[in-house]
Amino acid sequence: MYRLEKRPQPSAVMRVVSPLLAAVAMLVTGFVVFTLLGKDPAQAFYVFFIKPINTSYGFGELLLKASPLILCGLGLALCYRANVWNIGAEGHLTLGAITGGGVALWLGDSTSLFALPLMLLAGALGGAAWGAIPAWLRNRFHTNEILVSLMLVYIAQLLLSYLVHGPWRDPAGYNFPQSKAFGEAELLPMLIQQTRVNGSLVLALVLAGASWFFSEKTFAGFRLQVAGLAPAAAAYAGFSEKRNVWLVMLLSGASAGLAGVCEVAGPIGQLQASISPGYGFAAIIVAWVGRLHPLGVVLGGLLMSLLYLGGEAAQMQLALPSAVTGLFQGVLLFYLLAADIFINYRLRNTATATPPNAAPSSTEAGV
């Protein structure tokens, strides 16, 4: 008989091993699913996980798709460290794309060096503004930020849809719901030849470093962590909960907004009705798989990016439905949450423990 037993102290090793366990369990599940679907698992795995990044172009795609995931994941990790349950990164991303893209459309064919920085700034501000709404509502009316941030995602998406179907539609675009293409000065510079990797990767890595510095070195980062680990201790120390909520919502809004503007100023190059395959939602998993740590978020972003690429490849080459990407994402989070129990608990074999009551000794009865 095996039994769960509480550890005297949370295991630091399991904190790191748990995401790896989850990834392995995800692969095993994938194996079973592929087999049940009648695909050769070995070939399916190759198509899903190896082939997409076999070429330098493919590897570039991995980095390209990882950038928005990392940008969104960094902000969400900050929120979750502070016990603020923001799940609206997709909305912040969309609004960042709208404001950043709006600046690009307003600048037209400008060749100014300031065009791109201005777009990035607008994107960050747009995302932050969208993050400010749940923050204000929570602080003012005690609303639940989970619901508010989620609902704001759909509002942002409908706003974008309205814009590209209406006022911002390209008149020369054959009625397609999309804006004019951005000018050369309004696109992110390419980093690596023969690939689509652009400046957003640098941005993501720099922000990961900044996020690490903020969490590890600053008092503001410490305050957030206290609020997340022990809210009563934060109140006792006099750390304002409202200020923390504002801070993390604005920061996570801004970084997701950057992800949005980088998408439209990068691989897309214009505003469209749909600009993200759910990066903002996948980033929730990225944040948790990455243990809410900036370095972990970078690695988690790469893993999640691979799942996106593999899912696309599986659609094209194995004739599997696109849901396979979502399946892997969901299964990964599921196993992660399950494996996390081993941080605080361990398995013990109760069969080896001595039975409590040995044979009675004769000297005892009656006094």
């Binding site: 550890r7 949370p10 600053t218 962590q225 680990l229 109140a235 006792y236 304002s240």
Partner: protein
């Protein structure tokens, strides 16, 4: 005891180890019918673990339990109750929104018609001098009354053995006497009682025999009536009870002022504070006695700044109106604060001791333009650890890895080294062993001697009588006039604890014009 009578309960060589600690190590004891048997020991000596084993909550790793001359595995509390073992826990498990009868019905193993049950409750409560109304809602009851519910709940099962875990820690001195009468009556009827406590006076007054535990082992057996407090203490802690002494001290200006503080609680089960006035001067310790749940939590939060008060003048710190300031701002005025809950409020459990220094010590040079200066933070933590003899691996140890007493020493030490002008301490030695208690009390006295204003809120009357210059009582949200220790007695304070200090209130009645 004659040779004919066999013990009702006999434990032999009971051992229980938890990861990292041996809670019980080869403990044996016998309890005879009608005997009131004390289990005496400090916090962490293994008393509660042993009783949980008897009550079937935990299983021993080794050892045997002999119940009425038969070897018995007690696998669950339900089984223990079937055998006739009842237990009243230190922390009650009652639903506040239900009535007494409903609470009791939930805990019974057999079903009884509500009408019959109410009748039985009345019967039992009258017979044993524990008056309670079965129809009353629990949230309206005092802690003493809630304890009666728990006891009646056990008595309904006509137990042969009743286990009482630190029953008096929540009672006024008068209520303690009532409880003792009830227990004596039960024992006269043949019910055995296992009485867990670390209060020597009580044990000497009540118990027939005592088993003393220290560090998970039996360190002595005694007949308490034949022992002195000193000899029992030597068995319990292996040394004489240390003493604290208050020397004459000059008193200075008011450092903590509470003026007409009224505060309506938002918690439906909280206590509303009514017109509280108090002045704590530099160089004195003022103790506030009272049973918890009488406004202690609310008063502390209003003083620390965790609750903001409408009138800035209601709370004065070193002369500054502070009612509307948050805890960090109040700390800046020179206030230190040791809360009642250590883990999760006074300290962040998974964080290291040095980061826990940063929690309230950030103003003591630990920051440079918002960046944490870790070397200074660690040095501060090391200083606390050395000065207050905190047992831990290093300043890197997580707060949650420390025992309650050690963590409390760390928190008191931290708040002391912040060089406060005034300090507020809630339950300074709650769940802390004797040695650490004395160190903490001495630290508070040292602060007083250095001219700090000290306000202590404690449930332990003994402690307040040991360290206070003046003492006041908080009952039902009202605070009595503080009195000099030499002008009062345990009996008087005990009486005040049940809220009987009207005369003092009415003197001030004409001034009561401040809206709540």
């Amino acid at each position: 005891m004659t040779g004919v009578i066999s013990p009702r309960l006999a434990l032999t060589d009971i051992s229980k180890r938890y990861p990292g600690v041996v809670a019980n190590d080869g403990i044996s004891l016998k309890v005879f019918p009608g005997e009131i048997h004390a289990l005496l020991g400090e916090n962490g000596a293994g008393k509660s673990t042993l009783m949980k084993i008897v009550y079937g909550v935990t299983k021993p790793d080794a050892g045997t339990i002999l119940w009425e001359n038969r070897y018995q595995n007690i696998n669950s509390p339900a089984e223990a109750r079937r055998l006739g073992i009842g237990m009243v826990f230190q922390h009650f498990s009652l639903f506040e929104t239900l009535t007494v009868a409903e609470n009791i019905a939930l805990a019974l193993d057999r079903r009884i018609k509500p009408v019959l049950l109410a009748e039985q409750i009345r019967d039992v409560s009258v017979r044993y001098g524990l008056p309670i109304d079965p129809r009353r809602l629990v949230h309206s009851m005092s802690v003493g009354e809630r304890q009666r519910v728990e006891i009646v709940r056990c008595l309904l099962q006509t137990p042969k053995l009743l286990i009482m875990d630190e029953p008096t820690s929540v009672l006024t001195p008068q209520a303690v006497l009532t409880l003792f009468e009830t227990l004596r009556r039960l024992s006269a009827e043949g019910c055995s009682i296992l009485y867990i406590s670390h209060k020597l006076d009580e044990i000497r007054a009540l118990c027939d025999t005592a088993t003393v535990l220290r560090g998970g082992r039996v360190s002595g057996r005694a007949i308490p009536a034949k022992e002195s407090n000193q000899s029992l203490a030597r068995m319990m802690i292996g040394a004489d009870l240390p003493e604290c002494r208050l020397m004459e001290n000059t008193i200075g200006e008011v450092r903590i002022g509470i003026q007409r503080l009224s505060l309506r609680t938002e918690d439906p089960f909280g206590t509303t504070l009514k017109d509280i006035n108090l002045a704590v001067h530099s160089g004195e310790i003022v103790g506030i006695a009272g049973v918890s749940g009488n406004g202690q939590k609310e008063l502390l939060a209003a003083l620390s700044g965790e609750t903001i008060v409408a009138q800035p003048q209601s709370v004065l710190i070193d002369g500054h109106p502070a009612g509307r300031l948050n805890p960090a701002q109040r700390r800046h005025l020179g206030l230190s604060f040791v809360p009642e809950e250590r883990l999760g409020r006074g300290a962040v459990p998974p964080m290291s001791l040095s980061y826990n220094a940063l929690l309230t010590g950030s103003r003591r040079g630990m920051l440079r333009s918002g960046i944490v200066r870790k070397a200074i933070m660690r040095a501060f933590a090391r200083n606390v650890i050395d000065l207050f003899k905190v047992k831990c691996n290093q300043e890197y140890s997580a707060a949650s890895s420390l025992s309650g007493g050690n963590l409390q020493k760390y928190i008191v030490g931290r708040e002391t080294l912040l060089q406060p002008r005034a300090i507020i301490v809630a339950q300074p030695t709650w769940g802390v062993d004797v040695g650490a208690s004395m160190l903490i009390r001495q630290a508070l006295i040292d602060l007083r001697n250095r001219g700090v204003a000290v306000l202590v809120i404690s449930e332990e009357l003994e402690e307040l009588f040991m360290i206070s210059d003046r003492i006041a009582v908080l009952a039902q949200g009202r605070l009595s006039q503080p009195v000099l220790l030499s002008d009062t007695s345990v009996e008087q304070i005990g009486q005040w604890m049940s809220g009987q200090f009207d005369t003092i209130e009415s003197e001030r009645e004409e001034n009561e014009l401040v809206p709540a």
